[in-house]
């Protein structure tokens, strides 16, 4: 009975400590997440300012030179949109490659995954004595 009391005490103290520790971690991780958001909102504010200036330029308030980059949407120039598009595609590709080994036997886009015919053909080439 003494041991059971000891076990119950351990359970209360142990789970209490584990929950308290992880609650603290949760708060810290949340704060770190906020740090991530702050610079991006500052950047947005900066970008908004830039967009305002661009709009001003478009409306002819300021004399813009002919070589000024063309603004398509949200104050972004063609070059910026192209850069964002490349970054998004690259990021998606990296995420897909990171996820692939855990989810599939063969990475999407690999020759083996892309075509069983190719895989079969290669098998025949490397093992010509086997019949398909």
């Amino acid at each position: 009975m003494k041991d059971i009391g000891f076990g119950l005490g351990m359970t209360a103290a142990g789970m209490g400590t584990v929950f308290a520790m992880l609650l603290l971690l949760m708060i810290i991780v949340s704060l770190m997440g906020r740090m991530d958001r702050q610079p991006s909102s500052a950047e947005n504010a900066g970008r908004d300012g830039l967009a305002g200036a661009d709009l001003d330029a478009m409306s002819g308030i300021d004399d813009a030179p002919d070589t000024a980059p063309r603004v398509l949407a949200d104050g972004l120039t063609e070059d910026q949109i192209a850069a964002v598009s490349v970054a998004v595609l690259l990021h998606a590709e990296i995420r897909r490659q990171q996820a692939a080994p855990a989810m599939r036997t063969h990475q999407p886009g690999s020759h083996i995954f892309a075509s069983r015919w190719v895989a079969n053909g290669r098998g025949l080439q490397t093992q010509p004595w086997r019949r398909s």
Partner: protein
């Protein structure tokens, strides 16, 4: 041929005991599970091989100064191997889903309840306090943590505890689903949770392991070796500047240490010490610990479901254990059984990553409460 010569030639046959025969069968069974069923083959195969090598009659490998004895002394007796494995695990683990959704951290805590409830059961069955704590830690569903804690508290039980921990880790897909279905309704399992991916900066990814190590190290010093090595591996990965070390930690180091650890653990499974009623109790209690962890996680998920007004899928709670990433995959499979288009994987991965940290913290807390040094 003199009788002495004949005796020495047949010494091996004469030294065969029924215990060694049973353990040779157990070793073959472990290898069969690894090869045929592919249950944790990286660990069960070397453990099975170590078990066979240690139980062969008059085996010089397991004697003092033999290879298996040396491996045990250099890596298991002083808890070095589990810590080295933690560097590899850290280098392979992406804590991104946890950083994207910090609330999932609490699910990791709920998934550790089985450790303490099993400790009570073990005490009720007559195990000593250090032994009961070592058996309870099987509920962390974390092989290296189980080895580390039991190596300190009850080295005599290291063999059965390790076998139980790794065996049940490999049976996640079989053990968890019935409990999850039993404790949830069809409607709860079909709850969809939208996932909005948040960009995690490199600064946050690098800061996370450093901050966690410092905070946990200060508050639970007993967990410092475990959390320190786990987060060191993760820091290597996230820093992005030591690609070679990251590769070495997650491949060469982890592979070599896994082989040595498996052989050393297998060598502890000597018939005379292993074939006891207590071994069966340990295997049974380990299974109970796993079931309790899963149940506690799901029940905590149901609690969150209640507080969130029915928006939280309680299945995710079951992923708050350390079996990474199998537990998260099981949650996804179970959710898809009810609703094929339901995608809970990223939420579950967050809870699973939290379980990884929580199991290490729980191991440290257990050592602290037991006053181990």
């Amino acid at each position: 041929m003199s009788p002495d010569t004949l005796n020495s030639m047949l010494a091996g046959v004469q030294a065969v005991t029924w215990q060694s025969l049973v353990m040779l069968t157990v070793g073959c069974l472990l290898i069969a599970l690894a090869v045929v069923k592919e249950y944790e083959p990286l660990l069960l195969l070397p453990i099975g091989a170590g078990c066979i090598l240690a139980n062969l009659p008059l085996s010089p490998l397991a004697d003092e100064g033999g290879m298996l004895d040396i491996l045990y002394n250099i890596g298991v007796g002083n808890e070095l191997f589990p810590l080295l494995i933690f560097i590899g695990i850290g280098a392979m683990t992406d804590f991104g889903p946890l950083l994207e959704n910090p609330r999932m951290v609490l699910l990791g805590a709920a998934g550790q309840l089985g450790i303490f409830l099993t400790l009570i059961l073990a005490l009720a069955l007559g195990f000593s306090r250090p032994e009961a704590a070592s058996i309870g830690v099987i509920g962390a569903i974390d092989g290296p943590t189980s080895i580390y804690v039991s190596g300190i508290l009850a080295p005599d039980l290291l063999g059965p505890i390790t076998v139980a921990a790794y065996s049940y880790m490999s049976l996640v897909r079989i053990i968890m689903p019935p409990i999850m279905r039993l404790l949830t309704t069809k409607r709860e399992r079909a709850i969809r949770m939208p996932y909005s991916q948040r960009v995690i900066s490199k600064r946050t990814r690098v800061l996370f392991p450093v901050v966690v190590t410092i905070v946990v190290g200060i508050l639970v010093p007993f967990a410092t070796p475990l959390i320190g090595m786990l987060m060191l591996g993760n820091l290597l990965r996230e820093s992005g500047v030591v690609e070679r070390l990251t590769q070495a930690a997650s491949n060469e180091l982890a592979n070599v240490v896994t082989l040595f650890l498996g052989l050393a653990i297998g060598s502890t499974m000597v018939g005379e010490d292993f074939i006891k009623a207590s071994t069966l109790f340990i295997l049974g209690l380990g299974l109970i610990a796993f079931c309790l962890d899963t149940a506690a996680g799901v029940m905590f998920g149901k609690l969150l479901n209640l507080f969130s007004g029915g928006k939280f899928n309680p299945l995710i709670g079951a992923a708050g254990i350390s079996a990474f990433p199998m537990a998260a995959r099981v949650v996804q499979q179970e959710a898809q059984r009810e609703d094929y288009d339901n995608f809970l994987l990223m939420h579950a991965m967050g809870a699973n990553a939290a379980g990884q940290v929580a199991s290490v913290v729980a191991g440290g807390v257990l050592l602290a409460l037991m006053g181990a040094g």
